[in-house]
Amino acid sequence: MSPAERPLSPHLQIYQPQLTSVLSITHRATGLALAAGSIALVWWLVAAASGDHAFAVAQYFWGSWLGLLLLLGWTFSLFFHLCNGIRHLAWDMGLGFELKQVYLTGWTVVAASAGLTVIAWIAGLAMWSHA
């Protein structure tokens, strides 16, 4: 008996994207992005411990357009994973399972992670212009 001959349940391509499913997969995607971003944190710490030249190279890269683009992506990823993670912890305690609540907390996560990203970058760019 070949497994391919059995009927399959409807999968991703059948369903219209919904806030719930989009946020769920975004939680995973941002988690993986942050795992990749951890290499940047290691680089920054090792460069700071190594010496002036290594630190200057790291600082030059993170100040370049590619570095800034990556940092912007990781900032949003971190705030999204943080906010949606808190939503997950609430679910783990049995809270917020009503459909209305799921959508309310979902949009709150989107707004909060976008807002925190903007605030962090306004503060960061202000620090940069004063440095």
């Binding site: 700071a48 411990a49 943080l82």
Partner: protein, 130 residues
């Protein structure tokens, strides 16, 4: 069924195959580290924003202070543990091939350990001034 297989009692065959009351350990560790990371990542983001554009001596001095050093070490230990647990679930969900899955699971743990060791070593070197 061979004679040898029948030598074991049903209980003996079952032990070690079920959750053995430890099935929730991964799940619980993921949540415990998540709660700790709420505080640690917010502190880290605020600190990083304050350090934007700072020259190396300022960064090193800050990383060498007791509270930032302790919080940074906690962030690294808890963060890389949380990372290893999370990536493990993604691998278990999406990598179907048994050999590939095992290789990915081992690589995930090794990579997390190497990255954590490098970062912790750097932070300790700065904090202890060696």
């Amino acid at each position: 069924m061979s004679e040898r297989a029948d030598m074991r009692s049903p209980l003996g065959r079952a032990i070690g195959l079920g959750s053995a009351k430890e099935g929730v350990a991964h799940w619980w560790a993921q949540r415990l580290t998540a709660v700790a990371l709420i505080v640690l990542t917010l502190w880290f983001c605020a600190s990083l924003v304050a350090l934007v554009g700072a020259p190396r001596p300022d960064v090193v001095r800050w990383l060498g202070e007791p509270l930032p050093a302790i919080l940074m070490l906690l962030l690294l230990i808890v963060g890389f543990y949380h990372m290893a647990l999370g990536v493990q679930v993604v691998i278990e969900d999406y990598v179907a091939n048994a050999w590939l899955r095992m290789a990915a699971l081992v690589l995930n743990r090794f990579a997390a350990a190497v990255l954590a060791a490098a970062a912790i070593y750097a932070e300790l070197r700065i904090a202890l001034g060696v």
